[in-house]
Amino acid sequence: MRFELGLLLLFLTLLVFEIFTNKKQKGNVISFAILLFTIHTAIGFIPLADGDLFGGMFKTNTLLFYFKNVLNVGVLIVLLQSADWLKEKIVEQNKATEFILLLLSSLLGMYFMISAGDFLMFYLGLELATLPVAALVAYETSKRISAEAGVKYILSSALASGTALFGISFLYATAGSLYFDVIATTLTVSNLSILGFILFFSGLAFKISLAPFHFWTADVYEGAPINVASYLSVISKGAAVVILVILLFTVLKPLLPFWSKIIYIVAIATMTIGNLFALRQQNMKRFLAFSSVAQAGFILLGMLSVDELGLTTVLFFVTVYIFSNLGAFGVVQAISEVSGKENIDDYEGLYRTNPKLSLLLMLALFSLAGIPPLAGFFGKFFLYAAAASKGYYVLVFIGVVNATISLYYYLLVIRAMFLRKNQDAIPYFNSKLFMKLGLILAAIGILVAGMYSPLYEYVYTISTNFLN
């Protein structure tokens, strides 16, 4: 409970601080918020004991602590990357602190969602994680595209949560309880429970943007402010993946013969559709949106192996993916802030003018594509290994083919930056302090997760403890 209480305290402190600062000093609130959140992140690394609260509605264990720390670091990077944008554009509209407050309340929702011990807590956490983000997507109120993205996000997320609720009601009908511990023992395979599972899964699949439910992704990412898009693609998706894998491996395990088929089909569809649509994108935000859809398909491979290996690979891949995507989005944001350019063509000749930024973008894209010495390669390799250990060779083959296709479009961006010459390339610029910090943290994350193997072993140990 320390994570939740700490974040709540931080939230209230910021609220009071916001009230008592005069208009000219609102910019300082942002620096103060980042300082407080850094302390909160640092405190998170102090170990805690496992336990239950509220009669089993709220659970904590080492695995969840690990993932909450990953979420904290991710949100810290998002905050650092958005600080300059907030100071330059949003403070004058007098709504900068609200941005941070909404971001933090959404993070609080994710804490509750992944810690949930019954469906009620899960649903409340899911909504608390979703609603503030909808407000953030529509945050640039003077921009038409932002408002449109906000409408699309709130309507489709409401549909998804409604569908998930309808599914939960059927699971409740068959299992006789809403508590995960009870459901895990009483759930049986019947037509009703399968219908309930399908509806529930489609609700969560929307959050992760799996194949038939991914239509909102590109539009929302394009319309939203870039830091919100990166938050959606990284933190929001990561938390949803983790709660999905925990539910599948523990509560919904009685339905295993059934849900493994669904995951199989959805994984193939998601990888293929994400890749094919990413091929034809020109806007970097839409491009990264479809690339994140394809990555979600790869994550599903790990879920097919219902043991320590599967859980470890999913958690490890999500960790790696968070840092890689934050690096890519950070560079896109840094460039967009200075020049307003977001298309792949605009990046031509970037290496000659801004070598450091293009190197970081190359690092992030190579990690997403899975080029050997970087973190993304090990993440994908372990996912393939997990799926192959259960005999899904055809699926692994399709995954490898898709990884090759994805390499092509990631290399398109890299070719534009390094090989193309352009007379009016984006001129050299120096990022501000916070943006620099955010980019450096993301780069360190990519390198450390790839080179530092004890991380994988640590995740393996906590997954083993979690499942036994």
């Binding site: 649903y123 409340l124 609603l131 038409r144 309507l155 549909l159 949560s161």
Partner: protein, 105 residues
């Protein structure tokens, strides 16, 4: 428990409501109507929880409590959606889906 009405009839009602909501979500042209369709879906789920609780598992009030939370969160969701739609209306002076959409594949 209601005299003379079995759980099948009420579950049929909630399922019909659910699918009317889904159909409305995909076919309505007006954003407010889309929002109303979502309300139908959420209400169908709330009915389900209450009915399953009273007919099948009357010992604990889990389902009934869940439905109260559904109502509260549906209100929050609607308030936020209306706020965003009003902002969109200020920018484009329309709440028809075809007028508001500029982003497509």
């Amino acid at each position: 428990m209601i005299e003379g009405i079995s759980i099948y009839e009420i579950l049929s009602l909630s399922s019909v409501l659910f699918f009317i909501g889904i159909y409305g979500f995909f076919t309505r042209e007006n954003l407010i109507m889309v929002l109303m369709s979502i309300e139908l879906i959420l209400n169908a789920a709330a009915i389900n929880f209450v009915i399953i609780n009273t007919y099948l598992y009357p010992d604990f009030l889990q389902g009934a409590i869940f439905s109260i939370f559904i109502i509260a969160l549906a209100a929050a969701e609607t308030a936020l959606a209306i706020a965003i739609i009003i902002n969109l209306y200020k920018l484009v002076s329309s709440v028809e889906v075809k007028d508001t959409e500029i982003m497509k594949y």
